[in-house]
Amino acid sequence: MPRLLDIGLNELVSITKRMSDTAEEAISMAVNAYFEGKNVRDDVYEKSMKLKELKDEVRDLAFELIMKYQPVAIDLRTIESTLDASYGFSRFSRYALDIADLTNKLGNLTECDHTKIKHALSIVQWMVSKSIEAFETKNVELAKEVIKKDDEIDEIYNESLTNAAQMGKVKDIRCVIADILVIRYLERIGDHACQIASAVGYVVEGKYLPT
């Protein structure tokens, strides 16, 4: 027979899944719009608000379970890390919103060279999706891989910063600015993905994985 706590924990899992789905969607939407020059700011904003709502729901449910059942051990750690993860997901959408805003603020960027960004993006999208998978399946090995990838993103970010500082005259300054900003946002998204991955270690082994 399932414990009373399990009913609550399952509910927590389903809300978190909704959050992670919504966050992933927000990131794709924002980035694709960036490449295509579309303005999806309002849509991404809507997703962001949804995530804020869901984050509050997670928090409420977590504390209700703590009050009612005084969970211990793996149950307690699961609830703790779910609170961490829900924060991470809400940050995903925040940065997605920032990216969506760029088209707004800087205008049409379809002519810029997006190769570097596309490379960074594929890494980050992988990190986001795998960190969510690791979290849902409590897969410590996968989590470790996600954390390893973070170095690559950091490298790309540092590289683009150094390059931009050394650039002389450019055709379109907006591309450079947008580039750096997007990579910065992607790097932050990657960081949060790492933290989510680190929390997987906490749930399974009682210790956060080093990032």
Binding site: R3, L5, Q70, V72, A73, I74, D75, R77, G206
Partner: protein
Amino acid sequence: MKTKIEIRNLNVWFNKRQVIYDVNLKVPEQAITAVIGPSGCGKSTLLRAINRLHDLIPEAKVKGEVLLDGKDVYKEDPLVVRRKIGMVFQKPVPFPSMSIFENVAIGVKLNDLAKKERLEKIVERSLRMAALWEEVKDILESPATSLSVGQQQRLTIARTLALEPEVLLMDEPTSALDPVSMKKIEELIVNLKNDYTIVVVTHDMRQAARISDFTAFMYEGKIIEFNETSELFRNPKEEITEKYITGRIS
């Protein structure tokens, strides 16, 4: 932390049936150690092996060592051992034919530990330590049975404290009490740990989490895990421990 009681290779049988298997445990001084585990796992038996209560039961056989400050209690005078190691039981048992005063004083009296004049002081001190003095100071001569159950349990604690023991063993001290009394006794126990080494057997895990510094988990006569309470409850090392404290087995 210094070890007050060390249990080494303890094995206990009842009528040839073994109930405690090779228990090794170091009970830290001036701290509260909780012993948790499902019914019948041997926690009460373990407790009673510490103050040699099994001596009275011919069907019981005890092998192993229980060291109090390094000396094996099974090689010392059992009466002295029991004065140094006091015990509080699940059912509050004030002695029914005696007054409140007599109940607290009886252990001291029968052990010839104090002259009559000192008894009053001892009784007052013990009742104060048990957080009962204010409630009974004007009715010391009334029968102990006229107190509420929660007060009776505090009375038995005072009775034990009157002997100035070094260790307090408590066998499910709040099981028979209502929630308010339970809370009072829990507060009392936590206050006492500054002066005594306390071992509490409890089937209420939450209680163990609330009041103890260290927790030992017993299962089928063996100590499965022993650790600081916060560590054991947040990150247990053994699977059975985890299963038990999360309520997946009982």
